[in-house]
């Protein structure tokens, strides 16, 4: 079975070709235009998707050495994400499925992140606990089989990546916040400022990063740390970044390993853009080695939004006969576990 996967849920236009579970190509066009505007600009995002979708799909087919007629299933993301952006890839995928007379599979973006560790060898053993952390998502999921999972917990307010972005905004250091804070934090002390570790003592797997954002805001206010002053005091800025980052990393890591222990997982998997954070990676490597757990983090291009994971999820769904109706709508706040 040869599957074309299409991803347009946010700011990446990406397409991939997968044959019988092996990836043949993955092409991603990132909309760098967002950096200039300090965030994902929805109208720009959907317009750029419209411009990019055809060349990206053509490129993915060419790199795979597959003609459109060689595709026998088309998978596209239908949520969650920006409604205008999702619609571009979803409509393109459906139209191509009609044109080629092949079945269509709608893919949940979060579900796709969960299978991103199956794109390349080695692959995790079931059951494993997966942490998906990005600008839009912070979720802890117990994966018991292919496309079989239980949502253990998610964020009650801000996603971890969003917390990084908003903190970077308060500190006046640019977008996207995660990479900038990661970089500046390398020269700072994670123990310099004690930010709260929300829900660290609670039993559940829910996350909350909104309070952390508020305490950064009050810290800056209390010490009259304006953007200008922080620019003049790089040491202080580095300490703020390192301490803020440490609070997020502590919570993510603690909950992930608690869940792995309780559910008898031998593997843990991490996906989403925040998986690129170097402090998080170091802690994950250290803690998993200590507990003799196998740690899986996909290569960066499969951590962030990509067509390969959509193709993989589409392939797994097609194998189970889970095809979608062409009336399938775009669902901006699609949850996992929801059925199309």
């Amino acid at each position: 079975m040869t599957v074309l996967g299409i991803e347009t849920s946010c700011d990446e236009t990406s397409a991939a070709v997968l044959r019988d579970g092996s990836l043949l190509s993955n092409v991603t066009a990132t909309q760098l235009v967002h950096a200039k505007f300090g965030g994902v600009v929805p109208e720009l995002a959907s317009r750029a998707h419209v411009r990019m979708i055809t060349p990206v799909v053509q490129d993915a087919l060419a790199k795979a050495g597959v003609s459109p007629e060689g595709i026998d299933t088309i998978a596209a993301v239908y949520g969650p994400g920006l409604i205008g952006s999702i619609l571009v890839g979803l409509s393109f995928g459906k139209a191509m499925a009609i044109g080629l007379g092949v079945p269509f599979v709608g893919v949940n973006h979060i579900e796709a992140h969960l299978v991103s560790n199956f794109i390349e060898e080695p692959r995790p053993d079931f059951p494993f606990v997966s942490l998906t952390v990005s600008g839009g998502h912070t979720q802890l999921v117990l994966v018991t089989g292919p496309l079989e999972y239980i949502l253990l917990g998610e964020t009650r307010d801000d996603a971890a990546g969003e917390a990084f972005d908003k903190a970077a905004k308060m500190l006046g250091i640019g977008y996207p916040g995660g990479p900038v804070i990661d970089k500046l934090a390398r020269d700072g002390s994670p123990d310099a400022i004690q930010f709260p570790r929300p829900y660290l003592d609670e039993d559940g797997y829910e996350f909350s990063f909104s309070g952390l954002k508020t305490s950064l805001l009050y810290y800056l206010r209390k010490h009259q740390l304006t953007e200008e002053r922080l620019q003049r005091e790089p040491r202080l800025l580095a300490d703020l970044c390192a301490s803020f980052q440490a609070a997020i990393v502590d919570v993510l890591v603690q909950k992930l390993f608690t869940a792995a222990g309780r559910h008898g997982a031998t593997s843990i998997a991490v996906a989403g853009g925040v998986a690129a954070n170097s402090a998080l990676r170091r802690r994950l490597e250290f803690e998993s080695a200590k507990r003799k757990l196998r740690l899986f983090i996909p290569r960066f291009e499969y951590c962030t939004d990509n067509g390969a994971m959509i193709a993989m999820a589409g392939y797994l769904k097609a194998q189970k006969g889970m095809y979608s109706d062409l009336e399938l709508p775009a669902v901006p706040n699609l949850r996992i576990g929801s059925t199309p």
């Binding site: 929805p42 959907s46 409604i83 964020t155 801000d158 996603a159 969003e162 909104s210």
Partner: protein, 157 residues
């Protein structure tokens, strides 16, 4: 519903919002104003409680729009559209989110960073201003019903 409230915890902010929600009706638009970290998302959580929303109400900053299913007082299904315009650069971009369907539908619309709607801000609405107090959890919440003259604004491409 209208008035000035002081809260000292996220829970209290949700309670004020739930009381406000109990007086809202279909088609109402609630415009939220306040800086990062002043409790706008908490306020939406409270509003949603008033309509029996069982889904997780979280920040839509990243995806701009969340939709929750609730029930009105007669038990009829009601959708709450939760917008967050933090990343939106100009009012025209809101048109891409399905502005007409949302703001002139029979659901409830709650907008974070409502000032970014500019001329698209509906003349009849409920304004909620959230400001941070001296203590880390102190908030002042001002709720008012607003009716402004129609501006006849043109927003388009």
């Amino acid at each position: 519903m209208t008035g000035r409230y002081r809260t000292t915890s996220e829970g209290e902010t949700r309670k004020v919002a739930a009381a406000c929600g109990a007086e809202l009706r279909r088609g109402d638009v609630v415009a939220l104003y306040g800086d990062l970290g002043t409790g706008k998302t908490q306020f939406v959580k409270g509003l949603c409680e008033a309509f029996g929303v069982s889904e997780n109400v979280s920040s839509p900053t990243f995806v701009l729009l969340h939709r929750y299913r609730g029930r009105d007082r007669s038990g009829r299904e009601l959708f709450i559209h939760h917008l967050d315009l933090y990343r939106v650069g100009s009012p025209e971009e809101v048109l891409d989110l399905g502005y007409e369907e949302l703001f002139f539908g029979d659901g409830l619309v709650v907008v974070e960073w409502a000032e970014r709607l500019g001329p698209l801000l509906p003349p009849r609405r409920i304004d909620v201003h959230l400001t941070a107090g001296v203590g880390e959890n102190d908030r002042e919440i001002i709720i008012e019903r607003v009716i402004t003259a129609t501006q006849g604004a043109r927003v388009g491409r």
